[in-house]
Symmetry: C2
Subunit: 358 residues, 2 copies
Amino acid sequence: MTLEQGPTETERDAPHPMSIPRPGHPVTLRDVAEVAGVSVATVSLVVNNKKDARIGVDARKRVRDAIRDLGYRPNALAKTLASGSSRFIGLVADAIATTPFAGQIIHGAQDEAWKHGYVLLVANTEGNELAETDAISMMLEHKVRGILYSTWFHRATAVPPALHETDFVLVNCYSPEFDTRAVVPDEVEGGRTATNILIRRGHQRIAFINTTTPAPARDGRLRGYREALETAGLVYDPELVFDAAPDQEGGYDTVEALLAHGVTAVFCHNDRVAMGVYDGLRRRGLSIPDDMAVVGFDNQEVIAAHLRPPLSTVALPHYELGAAGVRLLLGIDRSDENALIKIDCPAVERDSVDVMQG
Amino acid sequence: MTLEQGPTETERDAPHPMSIPRPGHPVTLRDVAEVAGVSVATVSLVVNNKKDARIGVDARKRVRDAIRDLGYRPNALAKTLASGSSRFIGLVADAIATTPFAGQIIHGAQDEAWKHGYVLLVANTEGNELAETDAISMMLEHKVRGILYSTWFHRATAVPPALHETDFVLVNCYSPEFDTRAVVPDEVEGGRTATNILIRRGHQRIAFINTTTPAPARDGRLRGYREALETAGLVYDPELVFDAAPDQEGGYDTVEALLAHGVTAVFCHNDRVAMGVYDGLRRRGLSIPDDMAVVGFDNQEVIAAHLRPPLSTVALPHYELGAAGVRLLLGIDRSDENALIKIDCPAVERDSVDVMQG
């Protein structure tokens, strides 16, 4: 091809010069109408997918081509106003985005929201009451379809009155009056799962390092531990339940007592406690799992997957909590108005327990 | 007060019965107008804060009271459409919300956005190209003021073409052509800061465990390490630079070599590597900081603050990256169109280095 040649077939089909996107100069319906050689009203009918509108096949194709070539973006806000129903779901979080932990709640909620054509408005309030009030106001002013109100750890919560102005679901928290819909982890089942990992390896003297912090995790996991022992025909011995700060230091400080009680296995309230137990055992020259089998809780990847040996644990179902919250809000999962939905905590087996025999 | 009594002063001032919030039955301008005894147009003028509108002090007060009593929420979407400018800022993130790490980017961006009356639309794409395209389309259709495009670790990135349809700033990443605005951590300065923590304690044989992963963090921190040594009049010895996987295993496996080279201090590429070095030293009965001083990088709280002893490290400025991104986008911080803004990485001193003398 020489420079003197006229436009080729391809060049004539090339996008209109206006298709180069310019910030602040969005492509309008009028631009599309001009390029397609139809009226603005016709473009609007095509954009809004009015099936019964009488538009010729040819004109409809020209509009579609112009939309593609110009890179026209429909205005979602205008559509929301016109239809009277918004495509936003709000997610109010106390500290989920900033805790190295519960971000999967956002991820699960977002995936499920997108699946149904909704967009997530996330507000992280750092537990600050004023920020929370502002966040909920902002969401209501954006006419959200509903709000997920969530906490970074499983706990009881007061329900902010403004939430009652829309549909809402509590996620990873619940009202002490049990008068609202909530999705929470099944702590009892999780405690059973953790304990069963050890029972299945033949351990009989299994300790439980519980947290000193009052919370559903404290009561639920203890109940699960006890139920698992009793189901297996093992004696529940309160002397083997230790209370400790729910962190590395708490675990480290409990190792002495574990050894004094002659336990062969320990279920730790969380992975950080297990990390402290590792340090305490190692300091005494003891090895995991030969001298003691260890199981954690939470599956905090950055710790659990990289301890030596990698830690067997039970996962908090954060992703599923967020997704289930959206399904409840949109009425895809049906529930009573005050239902407390419990989500399973699955086992994540690594190498801190004995190899299973047979 | 007996049941027979008429309404008290307080009861007569009580909110209109309609003020009980009902999901799906939002309070309208018309409701406010009725209670205030004015026209809908008057309410609209008060709501939109038209200063020059001729409305009596008394009527204005009645409208304000009715708004408060009824719990009227202005429609932010309608306001956006009417004014032609939106109050949304988009934040596209590859995996920020789900990595136990960079969530502070969201937090910083949100705080700064709110400060200026903007709301953050967050989309986590998990690095999936289709999700990313959808996220950017969604944001453009919501007529965002602009988009922050961010990555969970500092790296070069291709710029999705659709970003050019609006204002945008890259956060924690940059275009290899350096042709767009970007905010990134100052890796060189961070490397100097980490090394200086050890130099100030009088160490002369300081090792650096670098990552094997090519990244600005790899080149930048090495350059900072080298500059700090040279500024202090110490010899830069390439034999004291070790490459390792940037995790616990990488650190653990390097301890043998550190000891063979007789170093008294080590700067680790990140906190996870430092955690592995702790394990390796402990296994050999060595103690920190007496036998070896250790400095990390990242300040990954759940690890750094809870190792035994707590780890001295250098913080990645995630919060500040998000906040600075918003300030650039809104033109509050001025910059060239292709400016690469570097943010300082501050030292976080704990107990894994010797106590400073004098």
